[in-house]
């Protein structure tokens, strides 16, 4: 961005960079380098992803037959609970922020680290402790409250390990809060000279908006889980209707966090897509300011819509109307982004490497998921499809078709920067296709199943739904294989992949233009001075073949 880096980097092996500047397990476990911490997180969340995915596999296998094929209903309840808890809190919420965010936020703004490097390391340890409690709950017999912990079931009646699971999530929440706090202060206070707010990469805008949500929503989850825990331990009746407690009040508190949480899961993905689309269309972002403002609008509006999860809970119809109207409003900034990405692609010089395939998949699938969100926001329609597979399909289109694809696209895009190695492109494109096909085969039938009336969280179903369920399970197997492929070749590439140049994609951005691959421990030789707008691609640039 205005400062040329004329260095020709020597082969990775002989140059000192953040991966080889010190060796030994202590240099990793006690590191305060944001780049190493991002890799620590990468390893941890990948482990959790496969555990949560395994639970999903068992669920889908069970649903091959109407009477349940492999597990008892009690076990099934535990499976969907653990799948939800692990995927939401231990994979999706940390995924992009803690891996790509930790790595890129300082680099993209020209800083040498985050504002509070030790807090960053602490947040990883807190994540591990939280994961430990939750895995303990899993191993010692599981939880069957659903990831939503609705009371009074969770607070009074269940005898499963609700407390350890809730404790694990409570603890991990602080990991999120610290990450968000770190990003907010870093972005405000540590931008390089010349890097004004409207010259920032859109990924940074997304991370900033995400961090605002982290910081304001997560504490409410913490107090809510604390109340559930206290109710269980002390046998008091805060949410017990028998003594005048209000279960719907729990839902207000829970969803006040959990709805913004879903935007925590998608906003970083949107940030990645902005980077991928501009890089692989070699064009400036169309409507940069619109995208930036939309990110902030989403952060605010996401807090105003939580009641749309409670339309049939006994919540007042009038409150329902308010939440419904606001839920329509929150779709607008997301739609603006989709239009702007599309306009960015128009007349761009597009190349179809794996990251771009993931980005294109995101745009299509996120749009479908988002539109079905509008169906759900309509009060009358929601009465029909609430608690059915329609809802499941909706959020998986956004979280898997959207967020996970953005995550994979980002991992692939920045892999050469993070590791100094290139992955095999053909395998990567192949995997992207497998994932896209497997995903749609898994989840599109679920829209139909839900609309036809199949309830969610049921271990068995009426026989007329079997065909679609079998289709969905077949898709899930393909999707699972699709996820394994990158797992294999990415790890392979660390040792055997060809060494990457500082900027293999010829992309714009401080992390690409001002730093070798992998970067040195201090990120840059000299602090960059920024004089250009973001994505300052030349008017007509040839596509990279």
């Amino acid at each position: 961005m205005g400062v040329a880096v004329a260095q020709v980097s020597p082969p990775t092996g002989s140059r000192v960079h953040y991966l080889n500047e010190s060796y030994g397990i202590k240099s990793w476990l006690f590191t305060t380098d944001h780049k190493r911490i991002s890799l620590l997180y990468l390893g941890s969340i990948t482990v959790m992803f496969f555990i949560g995915g395994f639970a999903a596999l068992l669920m889908r296998l069970n649903l091959l037959e109407p009477a349940g094929a492999i597990v008892q209903p009690e076990t099934y309840n535990k499976l969907f609970t653990m799948h939800g808890i692990i995927m939401v809190w231990f994979f999706l919420i940390p995924s992009i922020p803690a891996t790509l965010g930790n790595f890129l936020v300082p680099m993209m703004i020209g800083a040498r680290d985050l504002a509070f490097p030790r807090l960053n390391l602490l947040s990883w340890y807190i994540y591990l402790v939280g994961a430990g409690f939750t895995l303990y709950a899993l191993i010692s017999g599981g939880v069957d409250s659903g990831w939503t912990f609705y009371t009074p079931l969770s607070s009074i009646y269940l005898t499963t390990h609700v407390l350890s699971a809730a404790t694990g999530i409570f603890i991990t929440g602080f990991s999120s809060i610290l990450t968000g706090l770190n990003f907010i202060v870093t972005i405000h206070k540590m931008r390089a000279p010349g890097l004004t707010w409207f010259r920032l990469p859109l990924f940074i805008w997304s991370m900033y908006a995400t961090s605002v949500i982290f910081v304001l929503a997560t504490p409410v989850l913490a107090i809510t889980l604390l109340l559930v825990g206290l109710e269980r331990v002390l046998h008091v009746g805060i949410f017990d209707p028998a003594i005048g407690g209000d279960p719907v009040l729990f839902q207000h508190l829970f969803w006040f966090y959990s709805h913004p949480a879903v935007y925590i899961m998608i906003l970083p993905g949107m940030g990645v897509i902005s980077e991928l689309v501009t890089a692989f269309a070699r064009k400036r972002a169309f409507g940069y300011k619109a995208i930036a403002y939309s990110s902030m609008a989403i952060a605010l509006l996401s807090f105003l819509v939580w009641g749309h999860h409670m339309f049939v809970s006994g919540q007042s119809v009038y409150a329902g109307v308010v939440f419904s109207a606001l839920s329509f409003a929150v779709a607008i900034p997301s739609a603006i982004k989709v239009f702007n990405w599309t306009a960015t692609l128009y007349k761009g010089s597009i190349s179809y490497q794996a990251p771009m395939l993931y980005a294109l998949g995101f745009i299509g699938l996120f749009t479908m998921g988002g539109l079905t969100g509008l169906f759900l926001a309509s009060l009358a329609v929601d009465v029909h499809v609430h608690d059915t597979y329609f809802v499941i399909a909706h959020f998986h289109y956004i979280m898997v078709g959207g967020a996970v694809m953005a995550y994979l696209g980002g991992i692939h895009f920045w892999w050469p920067k993070m590791t100094g190695r290139m992955y095999p492109d053909l395998w990567a494109r192949f995997a992207a296709f497998v994932i896209f096909i497997g995903f749609n085969l898994t989840f599109f039938p679920q829209y139909i199943l839900g609309y036809l009336g199949m309830p969610r969280r049921y271990a068995m179903y009426p026989p007329e739904f079997q065909a679609l369920n079998v289709l969905s399970t077949a898709g899930a197997s393909i999707l699972g294989i699709g996820y394994l492929i990158p797992f294999v070749y990415l790890i392979w590439s660390i040792r055997y992949g060809p060494e990457a140049s500082p900027n293999p994609w010829k992309a714009k951005g401080l992390e690409w233009e001002h730093s070798p691959s992998p970067p040195p421990k201090d990120n840059f030789e000299d602090v960059p001075v920024v004089t250009e707008e973001a994505y300052a691609y030349a008017a007509s640039e040839p596509a990279r073949v």
Partner: protein, 104 residues
């Protein structure tokens, strides 16, 4: 240092004001003012909070960003409270059915 040095006199005056307000709110609680008891108590608490924040925590002397952070926190909290209360207060505006059977 960009931070101005707040004089002891300022701190002392703020402290005296805080004590006076605390005494006031305690005293008012022994007088029956109906619903105004709550309003007065909250108003006095808000005033005390402002004094502590502005002078003991130096917000009076700080640039806008600090104020934005605090205002944002309270604004977001007000969203939680107000929209929850929208539900709680309007629940019995529509008749609540008591069961499935006709006549209920």
């Amino acid at each position: 240092m960009a931070e101005p040095l707040v004089p002891v006199r300022t701190y002392t005056m703020v402290f005296v004001a805080l004590l006076a307000l605390a005494a006031l709110t305690t005293g008012l609680a022994y007088v029956d003012l109906g619903p105004f008891n709550t309003v007065a108590a909250l108003a006095i608490a808000a005033a005390k909070m402002l004094l502590v924040a502005l002078f003991f925590m130096h917000v009076w002397y700080k640039p806008g960003l600090t104020r934005i952070v605090i205002l944002a926190a309270f604004f977001w909290l007000s969203l939680l409270v107000s929209m929850t209360l929208i539900d709680v207060f309007t629940r019995n505006w529509t008749p609540q059915p008591t069961g499935w059977l006709p006549g209920s």
